[in-house]
């Protein structure tokens, strides 16, 4: 049995950089490369794409990702685990096999299914955010349970080079290889908690290495244009050392690791995943070398009885418009423009929001006491039930060119379809994970 396993974090979200995981795969001496590609809303949007095209519905950049990584995987023999199957893990597996054929490389892919619980959804169940029944939201387009690491074990046992999933709790993507290689069970709660801490530290990739951290003069990070992605060397007890490939940009320090360990954690004493209830409060982070941080001390308790389900629903359309003003009276002219639009659009939208970008758009007011900005952009956003209605917002902003305050310039307008997300809980017994294996080899074709 292996004594140490090296896991790499190769994507922090669907839109993440494609070059960093390639470099990590080539130079990182990895055992596993994990790509986390599903934000809360990603799967609902993928479900909408699948409605229009049954073969679609997986990560829009899956092809680019697999094309760049498969040749390295074939040489270096690491395994790839990713939730980039999104709303269609089976379709993703077929697409990966097609890529392997095109590249003339052997591949074995295991698709993990069962997260899609739309048919089993109880519409009377309350949304966790509001307590309102799910039937209050609609139309519902997706419902995906957060599968745990156990759901990936048959896929890993199949010997697949690539494990592709839909919704799986992010840290579980990292915990699964640890369970598989070290033989951990659901009862090994402390080990699972330590593995979960490692997964949580790696799941946002660059965010461990100085990304979303740098602040010139206070938290300086060099080489950010070539920010390296992280890996962790994990032993059979779940103790780990974080690192990145020498020569890549960014830094891993106690400070970057502390920010990432606590990132999005609602309760540091009880971080809930399908695998374990993890307590991060006693975690220690110790620098053991340049860009090397030892992680110790996470503790675990029994996993939650139920699984969380992410429910996507159509929430109408949002129309946006922007226009800029500059110079001595910029803010006053932007405010005049805002007043004009408020009067013209009053009562026509379910919700209307007007902000001054450069002044109050992010926090509603300035939290410092600095002088006025040189330039400011007016931004208007309105919620509508149709695309045509939403478009009125941008059109009205654009009309300020000739009907509004002096010197307005640089208008932009945009309409987007909104997909909302609420969460609910489902009994584990109602979620049935499955695995489907697809395989292709150039030699098989020759014979």
């Amino acid at each position: 049995m292996r004594t140490t396993l090296r896991l790499g974090g190769g994507a922090g979200f669907a839109g993440d950089r494609l070059d960093a995981p390639v470099h990590l795969a080539e130079h990182g001496a990895l055992d596993y490369l994990v790509l986390e590609c599903l934000a809360e809303r990603t799967i609902a949007l993928a479900q909408l794409r699948k409605r229009n095209d049954l073969a679609a519905g997986f990560d829009a950049r899956l092809t680019e990702r697999v094309e760049s990584l498969l040749p390295i995987l074939a040489r270096r023999r690491f395994r790839l685990v990713s939730n980039f199957g999104a709303a269609n893990p089976l379709g993703a597996a077929e697409a990966i096999v097609a890529i392997a054929k095109r590249l003339d490389l052997p591949v074995k892919v295991a698709a993990v299914t069962g997260d899609d619980v739309l048919d089993a959804l109880d519409l009377d169940a309350p949304a966790m955010e509001t307590g309102l029944p799910l039937s209050h939201y609609g139309p519902i387009v997706s419902a995906n349970a957060y599968l745990g690491a156990e759901a990936l074990l048959p896929a890993l046992a199949s010997g697949a080079d690539i494990v592709v999933t839909g919704r799986v709790a992010d840290p579980s993507l990292f915990v699964a290889p640890l369970m598989h290689e070290f033989g951990w069970t659901a009862e090994d709660v402390d080990r699972l908690a330590r593995g979960t801490a490692v997964g949580h530290l790696l799941e946002c990739a660059g965010q461990l290495c100085g990304g979303y951290f740098a602040d010139p003069g206070r938290k300086d990070i060099s080489g950010m244009a070539n920010l390296g992605f992280p890996f962790a060397d994990v032993n059979a007890d779940g103790d780990a050392t974080l690192g990145k490939v020498a020569g890549t940009g960014g830094r891993i320090t106690v400070a970057t690791a502390t920010e990432q360990l606590l990132y999005e954690v609602i309760d540091p004493h009880g971080y809930l995943t399908p695998d374990v209830t993890a307590d991060f409060s006693a975690v220690t982070l110790t620098e053991t070398g340049r860009d090397r941080i030892a992680v110790r001390g996470a503790r675990g308790r029994a996993r939650p009885a139920q699984l969380k389900v992410s429910v996507g629903y159509l929430a109408g359309y949002v129309g946006e418009g922007e226009i800029g003003y500059a110079g001595v009276n910029a803010v006053a002219r932007a405010r005049l423009a805002a007043d004009i639009l408020r009067e013209r659009l009053d009562g026509r939208f379910a919700e209307l929001r007007i902000d001054l970008i450069g002044s109050t758009s992010l926090h509603g007011r300035a939290l410092d006491d600095l002088e006025r900005p040189y330039e400011v952009r007016l931004r208007v956003a309105g919620r509508a039930t149709s695309r045509a209605e939403a478009a009125i917002v941008g059109d009205e902003v654009e009309a300020l060119y000739t009907n509004g305050p002096a010197g307005g310039g640089g208008t932009r307008k945009l309409v987007t379809e909104q997909v909302g997300i609420v969460s609910t809980l489902i009994d584990r017994s109602r979620v049935k994970p499955g695995v489907t294996v697809r395989e292709w080899s150039p030699h098989a074709e020759v014979v």
């Binding site: 955010e129 400070a255 502390t258 990432q260 999005e264 309760d267 982070l285 992010l362 509603g364 939290l367």
Partner: protein, 101 residues
């Protein structure tokens, strides 16, 4: 007037309509000062109008960090908010503007 900016760094995360602000002391020796000055009440006052619900604070001495879990802080929730920064990513900077004299 000293700002929180000089003592600590911060990262914002989001879950639904909840903003999670991780405040980390630059120097371990400043952690007790953060515990004393950056109270729930002080944060609620500083972020009034932004955080509309309860705030919960976790003390994490081992990490030199305070974790603030701010409810009803993201205009109803990331996925349907009309705000420009729907995730509240920039709220970390808002917190660090707090006076800690």
């Amino acid at each position: 007037m000293p700002k929180l900016y000089d003592l600590a760094h911060c990262r914002a995360g989001d879950k639904g309509d909840t903003s999670i602000l991780s405040l980390v002391a630059y120097r371990a020796g400043d952690y007790p000062l953060l515990v004393e000055r950056v109270t729930i009440k002080a944060v609620a006052q500083h972020l009034s109008g932004i955080v509309k619900g309860d705030i919960r604070r976790f003390e994490l001495p081992q990490l030199g960090a305070l974790q603030f879990v701010c409810h009803h802080a993201l205009n109803g929730g990331v996925t349907t908010s009309l705000a420009l920064d729907a995730h509240g990513k920039s709220l970390s900077s808002a917190l660090l503007e707090m006076d800690v004299s």
